[in-house]
Assembly symmetry: C2
Homo-oligomer: 230 residues x 2
C-alpha cells in the first residue's frame, strides 16, 4: 500500500471517529432540545462581530445563548463575545485548521446545557477544512463577506454545498467594494440550489430580523426533535 493510500484510509478513519463523536453530541443536544449552530467562513469574514450582535439581540429578546469559539491561538474572540453577557469558551486548536467534535465535547464540561436556549460554535477561519467535520450541529451556516469576491462559492464548493443557509456579511461595504449581489447569489445557488441567503451588516444591523427569525425556526425544529440527519 502506498503512503498516499494509507493516508487516505487513516483520514477516513479520523472522519469516521469524528462522525461517531458528533452523533453522540447530537443525541446529547437533542436530549435538551438545544439548537446548535456551526458558523464557518474564511478568516476575516466577520464571524465574531456577526455572532456578537446575534448573542446581544437574542439576549435582549429573553433567550439564553452560549458560544464556543475556535482559533489556532489567542482568546481574543472569546473575550469579545463574552462582552455580550453570554457564557463563552475559547477552543485553541494550536495549529489545527478546523474544529473537531471531540474538542466541542471537551469544552462542554462544566456547562449545564439545560440553561441554554441556543449554542453557537464559531469555527476556525478556513473555507476548506471545516466542511468535512460534523460537530453535532443542528444547522451549519456558511458566511461570505462582500469584500471577498463573488466567485468564492465556485472556488470553494464543499463549504457552501454542506451549508444549511448562507449569510452575506459586511453589506454596508458593498458599494465601496463594487460587490455584485446578483452574481454572488447566483454562484451560491449554483453550488447549493434552493439555499436561503441572508444579507446582513453587523455594523448597521441590516438583515438581522430575518436571520433571527430563521434562528427561531431552528429552535422550533430542535424542540420538535427534527434535527437534520447528517
Amino acid at each position: 500500500m502506498s503512503t498516499g493510500t494509507r493516508i487516505v484510509e487513516l483520514r477516513k478513519g479520523v472522519l469516521k471517529k469524528n462522525d461517531e463523536i458528533a452523533a453522540g453530541l447530537r443525541s446529547r443536544f437533542g436530549a435538551y432540545s438545544l439548537p446548535v449552530v456551526n458558523l464557518v467562513s474564511s478568516p476575516g469574514t466577520g464571524k465574531t462581530t456577526f455572532l456578537e450582535r446575534t448573542l446581544r439581540q437574542l439576549r435582549a429578546a429573553g433567550e439564553h445563548p452560549a458560544a464556543l469559539v475556535g482559533d489556532l491561538e489567542t482568546d481574543n474572540d472569546a473575550r469579545r463575545l463574552a462582552a455580550s453577557g453570554a457564557p463563552v469558551k475559547q477552543i485553541n486548536t494550536h495549529g489545527r485548521c478546523h474544529l473537531e467534535a471531540e474538542m466541542v465535547g471537551q469544552h462542554l464540561e462544566g456547562w449545564d446545557l439545560s440553561a441554554f436556549t441556543y449554542l453557537f460554535i464559531e469555527n476556525v477561519g478556513n473555507l476548506v477544512c471545516p466542511s468535512s467535520y460534523d460537530l453535532g450541529e443542528s444547522a451549519r451556516v456558511t458566511l461570505l463577506s462582500v469584500t471577498e469576491g463573488e466567485d468564492k462559492p465556485l472556488k470553494y464548493p464543499s463549504i457552501f454545498n454542506s451549508a444549511d443557509v448562507a449569510v452575506l456579511t459586511k453589506m454596508d461595504l458593498a458599494g465601496a467594494c463594487e460587490f455584485d449581489r446578483e452574481t454572488a447569489r447566483r454562484n451560491i445557488e449554483e453550488i447549493r440550489p434552493g439555499i436561503r441567503i441572508f444579507e446582513t451588516s453587523s455594523k448597521t444591523g441590516a438583515g438581522f430580523a430575518p436571520w433571527l427569525h430563521y434562528l427561531a425556526e431552528v429552535r422550533e425544529r430542535a424542540r420538535a426533535h427534527e434535527f437534520p440527519v447528517p
Copy 2:
C-alpha cells in the same frame, strides 16, 4: 500505537516527502537563476488582483513573468491572470486545501524555465495549511487585506511567521473599514519581528513601486544564487 500517533507520523512523512521534492525544485529553479514567489493568504484577500497588476507592471518593464495558480476548483483565476499576457497555468487541487511541491513540479511540464525572469505561485486561499508546505520558492509573501481585521497575525501565527515579507492589500478600503494600520503592523511584527511590510492597493496602484523594487532584489539574489535556505 494509537491512531492519533500514526497520523502524526504519516503526516511527518508527507511533509518530509514534500520537502524533498521542494528541495529538488529549488535546485532546478536555481539552475535558471529563476526567482520564485509563493503568495499565501485567506480566500478573498485579493491575491489574484494583486498578482495581475504585478504581472502587468513587470511586463511593462520588460520582464518575463509566469504564474501558477492554485484553487480547489475552476480556472477563473488562471483566465484572469492570463489577460496580463503572461504564461499562466491553473492547478486544481480538487478539495486539497493547499498546494504541494509535487503539484508545482507536474505543472512545470512543457514550460521552458529559461524564458522566464520570475515565477509566481498563487496558493489556495487558506491562512493555515499552506504554511507547512515548501514549494521550492525563493520568497514567501503573506498577504492580508484591510477588510480582514488587524488581529489575524496573532490568530494565525504560523503563516505570518513563515513569511519573508508581508503585503497589506485593499488599502483604498482602509477608511471604510476603519482599519487600524499601526495595530496591524504591530501584530505582524510581534509574530515576525523585523519583517518588511508593503501597504498596497491593487485598484489605485499605491505601494506597487516599493513592492516591485523588492521583487528586483529577489531577482538579484536569485542571480547571485543567494536563495534563503528553508
